[in-house]
């Protein structure tokens, strides 16, 4: 049944390859991006153990950030409780490793599984709500879980915390900064790859469709509620899994660290880092975590300037939201275009920006 509609000219603006389609080109782009991220992972090497420590932080925050990518970036739901789920994962890791004596390799998936029922219940109660009400509800749940779950003797065994040993695999000890850094990097790259894979699937596209237009999604046979719930639960599990690594990174778990108001504030920080990185691509969380952790380390060096860090990152969060809602991913895309079109000027812009940032960092480190 071919139609009589004529074929008008194709619009001039050529759009890049659709990102929710698993084409060869898309797969190649993913591999290139993962390679670039892995190369970025080599940056801490010359800085020694301090560099690895910062690298571990960035990698763990990127894992937690990916949970925001799924729930907010893909499904368009705002959740202000990723750190509470991370706390749940961390507490479970402490309980399983120290309490039961199981190895980390079992504790981490168990931590992810443990967040499943909790995020399912919270999600069932709240994902139907519209954005604003959802934000209030998740904030509220975060407080309530902090006050109940993390104080519950059945969970905590009446203890105020556990020491978490570093994972071992045969002869390899992941207690050293380098080894644990490499492990975190490998895991976060894997999670980025998985999160990108979700985009190019039935459920991932349903999430993006629901974010765009709920009515049309329903009209096309998508169960909006179930899709949102799936995003919420997957995001919770991702945060729980990251929480296991957080527990090892911190070396100990105290449930009090995941209560109000620290939980809310850190959750908000996680959301803002993902926005700065780029909310709808999986590597956005990676970029955001790097920029956040590096900045906080630079500023933390100078204790007096630490509040500046809060103001500075808030300032950038607002600037990004107002002018570049695509985050650093969008900025890097624009920069790449610029370099391609006007190589000399573009490279000069990049160099000046890098030099300026290094200069500021140097001043702050010297001032401390």
């Amino acid at each position: 049944m071919s139609t009589a509609v004529e074929t008008p000219e194709v619009p001039e603006q050529v759009i890049e390859a659709p990102s929710t389609v698993a084409t060869k080109k898309n797969r190649r782009n993913q591999i290139i991006a993962l390679g670039a991220l892995a190369a970025l992972g080599a940056v801490p090497i010359p800085f020694g153990d301090y560099g690895f420590f910062i690298g571990q932080y960035a990698a763990v925050y990127a894992m937690l950030g990916l949970s925001v990518t799924i729930v907010t970036g893909y499904a368009g739901l705002i959740s202000l409780m990723p750190y509470t789920f991370a706390g749940l994962g961390a507490v479970m890791t402490g309980l399983i490793m120290t309490g039961w004596g199981w190895p980390f390799w079992l504790a981490a998936p168990m931590a992810a599984l443990a967040t499943l029922p909790v995020s399912l219940v919270v999600g069932m109660a709240s994902v139907r709500l519209k954005t604003l009400y959802l934000a209030i509800a998740t904030l509220t749940f975060s407080t309530a879980l902090g006050e109940t779950f993390f104080r519950w003797d059945l969970v905590t065994g009446g203890r105020i915390g556990w020491t978490v040993a570093s994972p071992q695999l045969g002869p390899i000890d992941f207690g050293t900064d380098l080894n644990f850094y490499l492990l975190c990097l490998l895991v976060v790259l894997g999670l980025v790859w998985m999160t990108e894979g979700l985009r190019t699937s039935r459920l991932g596209r349903a999430m993006l469709a629901v974010r765009d237009n709920e009515l049309e999604a329903q009209a096309l046979g998508i169960n909006v509620y179930k899709t949102k719930l799936a995003a919420f639960v997957l995001s919770g599990m991702m945060a729980g899994f990251g929480g296991a690594f957080l527990a090892v990174l911190l070396g100990n778990v105290s449930p009090g660290g995941y209560q109000s108001p620290v939980a809310e504030v850190t959750s908000i920080l996680l959301v803002s880092l993902v926005v700065i990185g780029g909310i709808d691509r999986a590597w956005g969380a990676f970029f955001g975590a790097i920029s956040l952790v590096v900045q906080s380390q630079v500023f933390q060096g100078a204790r007096f300037f630490f509040p500046f860090f809060g103001m500075y990152s808030a300032f950038f969060l607002i600037l990004f939201l107002l002018f570049r809602p695509g985050g650093l991913v969008q900025v890097s895309k624009i920069t790449t275009e610029l370099v391609k079109r006007r190589p000399v000027f573009g490279l000069a812009v990049v160099l000046v920006t890098v030099a300026l940032n290094l200069g500021i960092a140097y001043i702050f480190i010297r001032a401390s």
Partner: protein, 308 residues
Amino acid sequence: MTLAINPIEVASFGISAGAVFGLLALGLVLIYRTTGVMNFGHWAIGLVAVVSYAWLTGEGMLPQAALPICLLLAMGAGVAAYRLVFKRIARSNQIIVILVAVGIAQFYSSLAALVLGFRPFTRLPPWLPMATLEVAGMRLRMSDVYTIGVGLAIAVGFFFWFRVSRSGQALRAVAQNREAAVLAGIDDVRYSSLAWAIGSGLAALALLIIMPHSAGQQGGLITTFDLTPLGTLLIPAFGAALVGGLVNLPMALVGGVFFGLTREFLVLAPAPWSELRTSVAAILIVVLLLLRTERFFATRQELEALEA
């Protein structure tokens, strides 16, 4: 001090806490109705006032003299947030609006930390009388009595101003229908700024009532990066605002008192419950939220969107 608990004494604690929640909620609702922003940074704007209060009184200023200056500063902070940032965002994209409000919260709370510097504690001297009043065998704190009085006075003054004065009526018009108000020649930016100023002033007043009077005769204490307002006040304030469906001003005050009384009477409850004050508030909020959603079929608004 007697351990016998008099329900009227507890009620006085509850109503005074409720007045504070109510004032916070009133500010939230006023700002939301006029500019469509649910201000997740409300507490941080109030914190600006608390920190300047700590600084001014630390420099030797009389607390009562410092108070109005601090309220004005918080109002300025709120108006600046509106004029520089929120005015520029489309209110239809709620995710962006919420994230920006979160950014504003981070900005002002960091600013507050910067002003305080790195001291473990900064004292906040009381500005309300701290005496205890004995009436018919009951011990009532004067600060509670004043708090309730301030709450009542603001409620009455507010509604009188809203109904009678020109600016109050213009503000109400903007809140009810911005487009129509603009067509009628009302400067919506001016009145939105006014709403932000009043709302931020109310947040500041609420925090300045509670924080300097929380530790007995000494007044109160504040630490750097003090998140108490976020943790303990914002959630009941949201709850109170939700009682009025985020748009009803008198119901927001009523909701505040409801949450205040619930919290104080829970303290009397047996052991597990008294520990769960915030959780009970949280559960109430979730119930309120679920009552508001039509679960299976489209709401009127969605229908209109469908037909439009």
